[in-house]
Amino acid sequence: MSLITRRQLLRFMGSSAGNVAAIRALQIIGLAGMANAAGCKSSSPATNSDGIFTNDERSALGALADAVLPPDQDPGGKDLGAVVYIENLIATIESGANEVFANGPFSGRQPLPNADGTASTNFPENDFASWVELDRVNALAWKIKVLGSSSVKGGAPNDAILGPVIGLRDQLHQIIAQAVALSPKPLASLSADDLAATFQQIDSDSRDLLVELVTQAAFAAPEYGGNPSLSGWKLCNFEGDSQPLGYSQWNGSGYTERAASPMSTANPGADPAPMDAQTEQLLGLVTQFLGGVTS
């Protein structure tokens, strides 16, 4: 194991809670309380016919997704497909279709290479459009995650000690209801500032869950229901899945790389989004807080 994983990334700041001085410093330089999303009209997401949410719930969930990723020059959380993504996951477990893991190896978004390592005009089929059949263990795990341990036969062997697992389906109904109750108007009609303020009033664990799900929708492969037209990957300047072309093709005597996305050399052209002062302030304080070095 070497590449930093999600678990390692989560761990990164995990033990830093409690350093009040550093966090206050962040506030002083203005990083606290900056939720002022720019207004940007967006279209409604596609609806799912499986009926996990009512139309009002879908509308509210879309608004909450926009609180996580506010629309600006790039799409917000709603237009990045958050509602479809979430509803797809719950529906597939409820129905027993269990379409949790897209198949492999290729999505068909990248071409096969030529013999000299350059990109050909031949594209493989999209294997991501089919799904891996779940084994006995995974099927039970996903039922518990989505439907809750008390709703699944054999799903609660440790509940007496650890407490029940509340399913994603019930959590989301509760979160939406909570947010709706906090707002004097339909969430979708709130201004960006009011939406951010309402989002902030939701309990912390629920906010975390929404952030998690909305960002999954935005930055996962589009076959899962989000990231429409690869808009999430474009937002973060990520090339997405790269097989079978990859970043470096053996050509018989060396390696051929993608001109726009090289592996062994620096990127060509200008940085599409250089770090701004706010990002650098944050990095400086994180570095200071962790006892590191800023050059």
């Binding site: 070497s2 897209a102 999954q216 973060c236 300047n237 790269s242």
Partner: protein, 570 residues
Amino acid sequence: MRQTIFGNTSLSKFDAIVIGSGAGGGPVAHVLTSNGKKVLVLEAGPCHFDGLDDPTKQPVSRFSNDELKIEIRNFIETDDRVEPRSWRHSPADGDRTTVGNVQALPKNVGGATVHADLKMPRFATTDFQLNTLLGNVQDASFADWPVQYDELEPFYAWGEKLVGVQGKTGTNPFESARSGEYPMPPGNPMYGATVVNKGLASLGYTMFPYPTAVNSVPYDDRPACVDCGFCSSYGCASNAKGSTAVTAIRKALLSGNCQLHAETRVVKLLMNGAKNQVTGVVAMDPTGAQVTFTADQYVLAASPIEDARLLLLSDPTGVGNSSGMVGRNLMFHYQTIALGVFDERVHGYRGRAVAHGFADFRGTPEDSAHPLGGIVEISGGGLPIGEAAYYSRVLKQANFGKWNGPLFKNLMRQSPGRDRVMILVMQAEDAPQTTNVVDLDPAIVDLDGLPVARCTYQNHPFEINAGKFYEPKLVDILTKAGAKYAFISPRDDIPGSQHIMGTLRSGTDAKTSVTDKNGKFWDVGNLFASDGAIFPTSSGYNPTMTIIAMALRVGAAMINSASPASVIPS
């Protein structure tokens, strides 16, 4: 309907049952079947290589460049909702402090070699002699290995050919003597490593191409790696990665002497009355029904924690446990992780996770001025969903829990935590301690109602002090390489290295070890262990190449115990 039984399905009588198909099990199955033995491999997880036993074409991988599937939805790692483990630092903590993901490893055909980026350095000569070289270390249980480097070297060479390792002899000044060149030359370098090398060179450290079981050129009917960027934690979409699934296990299946049952989890060893012979195994089949299999010999290769758990599930005192050492000396590598954020986009996510490393921080056993740390991997950042989780965590703390959507979105665009970061990961020696132990949790069970493994573990000052010694040096390297911000990542309460060793220590004394130098249990005549469980110490190098070399030797000893080396093919 997915395939769960592979290979020669007409076989019904077996010379050996191998429990597990990863770095420990795959090579044993390969050695035995290539020497005419009939082998049944029982693997708890599914097979994600369609056509693994088809001789006419390469298997088709179900793995893909899909971050959600692997990192978030947990395609191959054991799921802690149904197969948790528990954790505590000492008995003073009570029954447990945590239930959940405790060093979970992938559960599928090929084991952890499927998800690992397969960094394959060998251990060095001195790593096998640490009791002699270190002397008494208080509260630690360092031991010399019953097999020394020179004896293992030909098995290292065999293993490197089997899984296909790229590298270059002579580039790592700390590497022990090799009998030959690596099977493949190093692959294409990653740009970020060349940036980091500016810092290394200025400080007099030596960067080298990391030995890796990933094809740099076409090899063994498998293609060259295309450096797709989805490597560490990911199964390979093209079979360029030499996991034991597509190398050792596939060769065993194609021999005609092997049958593999996937999704078949062994839950009990059946013993004779004297408890000195295994008479069969009970397993849960893909439907959850109990089935029994028998053979003449049995090999444990389910990973150190699950090996120990199975021995304890089979007998309350532990099968083969007259020494009282079953489950003890549990080790993980002590990772120190330094991050450097650069002004430029160093795009460290493009490539095979790690292309280079350095070993200047491995240290010298006899020299207190150079404590035993470990090899350092030079890697890039993660992928966008993980990146988003990282920023959300940082912002939550930075803003007293208040969400800041616009800033979060800007971070995703500017990508300091993915596109601009380079990471140094030191895999340091973890001192063995008899008090670091795997046993059964007294109350927590898995989906089948079986007690889960409980790890009682705390770090020794040996590795803590070494980590502190090297932390500023790692930061200095990144700073001198041009990083604008460089710092050490805080450690988690439960180590996340997924390098798991010990629990069935091998040795020369039945009173202080569980297995002998051939991996054979002292107490059980027909039971062997062949994975990282038999390691007496952890070294400061990635363990997989040594697991494979030792497993090949265990298999060879099952063929010829007097001269395992005679089994090595010429």
